[in-house]
């Protein structure tokens, strides 16, 4: 049963991942990416990493992808404005790089003799993850949070425009 479910979710993830990069409509791509996240969450559940699965859906599918869709819709990207992936020369480069990298990772995985298994903290309850985050990895965790804050402040500063000073012509009106 578990093996069947694993292949089902893996197929879903890979198939929707393929659709993400081959669709010419950006909205369709984004929606397939959401489906891809669902497949991943299903695989997390099979690994007993329930917390991770829920966070995957809540953060990536529920928040980040909504913002992506938001931006795509505001920009009103027409499918024709994007260079067609299937016809471009760079397609061959993409495929070559993917194959080489995939081969390297597969080779590394086969060479690994000892199966270290997943970190036990990642599976099961939220308490185990909280324990690792707030005890052993407290400093990296806080530094990451600070980094995100800096990025947000930076984005706000860059997006902010100087309020237009009232010019003579505007005052006349």
């Amino acid at each position: 049963m578990e093996t069947v479910l694993f292949y089902l979710f893996a197929a879903l993830t890979l198939a929707s991942g393929l659709m993400v990069i081959t669709r010419r409509n950006p909205v369709a791509s984004a929606l397939y990416l959401v489906l891809c996240f669902f497949g991943l969450a299903g695989i997390y559940v099979l690994m007993d990493a329930y917390f991770l699965a829920a966070i995957q859906i809540a953060v990536y599918a529920g928040a980040i992808m909504v913002l992506f869709l938001f931006v795509i819709m505001l920009l009103r990207l027409e499918p024709t404005e994007l260079p067609s992936f299937m016809n471009s020369w760079s397609k061959r480069l993409y495929v070559a790089v993917t194959l080489v990298l995939g081969g390297v990772f597969l080779g590394l995985d086969l060479m690994r003799t000892v199966n270290t298994g997943a970190d036990s903290a990642l599976t099961g309850e939220a308490g185990a993850i909280a324990d690792r985050l707030f005890n052993r990895y407290l400093l990296p965790f806080e530094v990451t949070a600070l980094l995100l804050l800096v990025a947000i402040v930076g984005a706000v500063v860059m997006a902010r425009r100087e309020s237009p000073k009232p010019t003579a012509s505007m005052e006349e009106v």
């Binding site: 909205v27 959401v34 917390f51 829920a54 809540a58 599918a61 529920g62 928040a63 869709l69 938001f70």
Partner: protein, 343 residues
């Protein structure tokens, strides 16, 4: 095998009750609205208009299913399903009763008692916006697109308040399991009483998440025709409508579970009479839960027909500049109280 059958039975029961409630909630909405406006409301189809939802359903089936020119047909068709599915999925983790002795054992009145129940609800709940966004975008209509964009902005903003409002509850119970939270409230005062601020924040954010007045700006009729479902007709339109009411039912069930003691009925359930009759106690719990949900749903309808709609910028201001800081302060206050108790 029996376990699988019991689970299937529970799914069937919850689904049927939810869909029936959706149908009759539309009638209740029109009736309550009518009485608030000193009218009679639907009263022609059956006694007290009781067959009105059936007539409405039949009418929807026979209406023309119109797809506007230039619309994305596939997404246009999928959107109503996306709007309805999350609300129905969330029902799976809500404990709607304690236990009932059946088939020679105790059967838990919950479909799936997940250890991360609260997170599951929020994860699935955060997906409900996709139906609105894709529906509005796929219609190829500027009003629908406006509605979709508003829905996206509103839901992301108020989800944060929703999440912050329940953190003190998780701090108090030390569990993300919904049945643990209900059990805690069986032994302690309800969270509605101990955490009034969190309760208020959660209820306000729930109204925004379900797109109900005073926060129904994604479909604000005077500005956007009908918002994201402007270009929808027939059963597809009914899908959006049912999605909205199903989301309302889920929100009411969550408010009851998290803040109003779930299926617990103080004092009465501790009577000796119920200790001897386990079946009656189980039925009492289910009845209590349904009654509390009914009160919540009535509140949703009551508010809708009493308050005017917020303006878009006011809504954003309320979400980010009032509710979000209040949510953080609520966590801080509760944290200080816990700290004081532990010293």
């Amino acid at each position: 095998m029996t376990g699988l059958l019991i689970t299937l039975g529970k799914i069937l029961a919850v689904f049927t009750v939810t869909m029936l409630t959706v149908a009759y909630l539309t009638l209740l909405e029109r009736k309550v609205c009518a009485y608030i406006q000193l009218r009679k409301g639907p009263n022609r189809v059956g006694p007290w208009g009781l067959f009105q939802p059936i007539a409405d359903g039949l009418k929807f089936v026979f209406k023309e299913d119109f797809v506007p020119a230039g619309a994305n047909r596939a997404l246009h068709a999928v959107a109503p399903v996306l709007a309805m599915a999350p609300a129905l999925t969330t029902c799976a983790v809500i404990p709607f009763g304690s236990t009932l002795p059946m088939f020679g054992g105790e059967v838990n009145m919950i479909i799936a008692d997940l250890s991360i129940g609260v997170l599951f609800v929020f994860a699935i709940g955060s997906l409900s916006v996709y139906g609105l966004i894709t529906g509005g975008w796929a219609s190829n209509n500027k009003y629908a697109l406006f509605g979709a964009l508003r829905a996206g902005a509103q839901m992301i903003s108020y989800e944060i308040t929703l999440g912050l409002a329940i953190i003190p509850i998780i701090m108090a119970t030390g569990s993300l399991r919904l049945s643990d939270i209900v059990a805690y409230q069986g032994a302690h005062p309800w969270f509605m009483i101990v955490q009034p601020l969190g309760f208020l924040l959660f209820v306000v954010a729930s109204f925004a998440e379900t797109n109900r007045l005073p926060f129904d700006i994604p479909e604000a009729e005077p500005e956007l025709v009908a918002g994201y479902h402007t270009e929808y007709s027939s059963m597809k339109f009914a899908g959006f409508y049912m999605g909205e009411y199903a989301a309302m039912i889920t929100a009411a069930a969550l408010i009851v579970t998290l803040f109003c003691g779930g299926y617990h009925l103080p004092w009465l359930e501790n009577l000796n009479f119920f200790k001897e009759h386990a079946t009656l106690l189980g039925l009492l719990h289910i009845g209590t839960f349904l009654a509390k949900m009914g009160i919540c749903l009535f509140g949703f309808i009551w508010v809708r027909w009493s308050l005017p709609r917020f303006r878009y910028d006011q809504l954003m201001k309320l979400g980010w500049k009032v509710l979000l800081p209040l949510g953080l302060i609520n966590i801080l206050i509760y944290g200080l109280f816990t700290l004081k108790d532990s010293i």
